[in-house]
Symmetry: D2
Subunit: 229 residues, 4 copies
């Protein structure tokens, strides 16, 4: 894996504001911020937008999901091969809005790694984070589901969940990089998340539904720089 850290990873979900032409615009904002600040910003658009975006920007593009299948006779499912050919360099796995079976998370992580792609496994609490760590993904993003979309950052509301999960993950597997998710909407939230020891954030509406995504991303990148100094 060769992803510059810290990482600000923006999940476009199925928001209208993050689909099609709107998705491309936000991805270009991310690209600009990256080029101005050097802070790494990943974008995770819907499957239909992956290729268009990866051909238009230099920041890393992630799939929001891959299915635990091999290429073959499957209709309406996404192989790692398909998202890789479209230009994705990794994928979210087991997002709280798209939970997977335990054995399938293992398959997805392996399929991604075999293809040279990065896995970002989402988890909801300390114990599930330590289980996910045993599966050896590249990243784990801690997102207490009750905070997703609330604008209440987990880094402030439940810092002990973040630090507890960090510890739980690293006790099982020191190689896993931990991101902080759920409720992240400002540069301050990013600053707090990094100060707790995580190596980045996973967020969605805070950027995608912002009036000015560029400004939000810029303030987050500045927070990253401030922490790294």
């Amino acid at each position: 894996m060769n992803i510059s850290l810290p990482l600000i990873l923006v999940n476009f979900k199925a928001y209208s504001q993050g689909t099609g032409a709107n998705a491309l615009k936000i991805a270009k904002d991310a690209d600009l911020v990256f080029k101005e600040t050097g802070v790494n910003i990943g974008v995770a658009p819907v499957a239909t937008d992956i290729r268009m975006i990866s051909e238009s920007v230099d920041v890393p593009v992630f799939a929001q999901h891959v299915d635990p299948i091999e290429p073959g006779s499957h209709t309406g499912f996404l192989t790692v091969e398909a998202v890789k050919e479209a230009g994705a360099i990794g994928s979210l796995v087991n997002h709280s809005e798209h939970r997977l079976r335990l054995a399938d998370i293992d398959v997805c992580i392996n399929n991604l790694r075999k293809a040279g792609l990065v896995s970002v496994v989402c988890t909801n609490n300390e114990i599930v984070s330590s289980a996910a760590a045993a599966l050896n993904p590249d990243f784990i993003a801690i997102e207490p589901p009750e905070l997703i979309g609330t604008g209440i950052p987990v880094s402030k509301a439940k810092p002990e969940v973040v630090t507890g999960s960090l510890e739980a993950v690293h006790k099982v597997n020191r190689n896993v990089i931990v991101l902080c998710g759920a409720g992240i909407t400002t540069g301050d939230d990013v600053y707090a998340a990094l100060k707790l020891g995580t190596r980045g954030v996973l967020l969605a509406s805070g950027v995608v539904k912002a009036k000015n995504p560029f400004d939000v991303l810029m303030s987050m990148a500045e927070a990253v720089i401030k922490v790294e100094e």
Copy 2:
């Protein structure tokens, strides 16, 4: 709906031979055959290839699946809006490899129609076909699951399933156009399917895994012309 009939609809599934650059090649073959013969050929690539293909060919592009959701906070799912923005003019619904809940088929058909997109609902037997007809999709594709991928055409192995389903569908809803699926691999199969009264075929491996997809599509288009004469 404004789709020229009969329709040869090719599901690329998650085959390596139908993903990425390979998908584009088959879509261009379909485009050539369409332009030479005037016979309508639809292509249904994986989600990540929809935009690239719809920007490159004039034949209609279908999604293989849409999720029964509205735009919003959903991760790794496909809205009708997303596939439409990418250039799809319709979608398969309830393929035998991606069965949906009854109420969700209703939602998908409605979401597609509201967006001006075409629904092709797959069914497995007469009684399920008549239930699907009650939901008022644009198309129903009859595919006895036991014949899918076998190369044994339902039009020959079980013509009574096709004619029975046609009758069952039209008894409930005269507006639904019926396609014949499962085991279609040759021009002869297409000929037989149309002779039974269907208005087209849904097929996959017969074209996607063929040595020469162009030749197969051409022989199928010729069979269509022969029936229509």
Copy 3:
């Protein structure tokens, strides 16, 4: 099928008030009301309580769900055979809290019928009701999901959904008996439901979470008698 109509069908769900010893108590209340009034009351307890209850009462016992499988190598799923051996005379199918795939509803209805058991398919709107009717179940219970558990009876809040669904069902299949669900909590609601032309009700919390289930059931039975006079 040999079920006396009208039918008051009580779904015990997974309520604590309707599980184990509590379930047996409500079932005995139903049995008493049936014996005093002659009005048929079915009970649908959780799987683990079916045998105990069917051995203790004379009213018909339904499963809340059966899986679309044959006996064999399946773990933690319920065959029709298992619920029949335990004494159930039928099953709910496709409850709004347990939606099934279209093709699986077909399988469940067939498996139940082959075993001599009754199917009660739940639906959420007119068009889905007419699709369900095409599958030829014994009963269809119309339950607009937005009213379930609200105490607002569909028979009052949306009578046009009930009459529309009745008509839609019978246009497709005259043999299907229609029940009215969602929000039924009083004898008045039952009276209104029957007056709209349905042949019974499907309800849950109105009885199971009542202070005195016997009294509620008795007032409902009296409403049935009043309509039938």
Copy 4:
């Protein structure tokens, strides 16, 4: 938890030979073998048979599955409360025929423990076993899916999977008791499984579909005694 080890745990699945009256007969065989030999034999019948069997025998009864829910408005699902009231002392979780989402396995283990019930989480390989161990269940049963129902015992065909999983589990969590599943049909298989360091076996068809379940169980119990000497 207070379960005597080693444990022979028999999953009755949805086999006709293990449902209803047949289930009771096998459970009584298990009871007899237990009473003659002192070797602990658990039985896991379908939900509808749990109460009947737990009232008839002294050996521990397990559910084959519990749903990750609290008591309440759920139709056709099984709470821990329901299986406990019926007499179960534990449950299989995440059987290869009933895989669960990672976060739901966590919920099931917690719900079982809070109710004083035992969890037996099934896993398919070393890495998934170590993830399951992080969730702190009482038992983990290793069952390579490709061997289930084959009669080829994992203890012979892939002893390294068993020993590797044992080690992987105990590296993460020393408290978890490991059972050996998949392909166990004879006393020899049980002997081999225990010799590899597991504390029991999980099996199904080897007993349930045997001509004489009593004899098979007796030979397995004798194998346990032989190892324990």
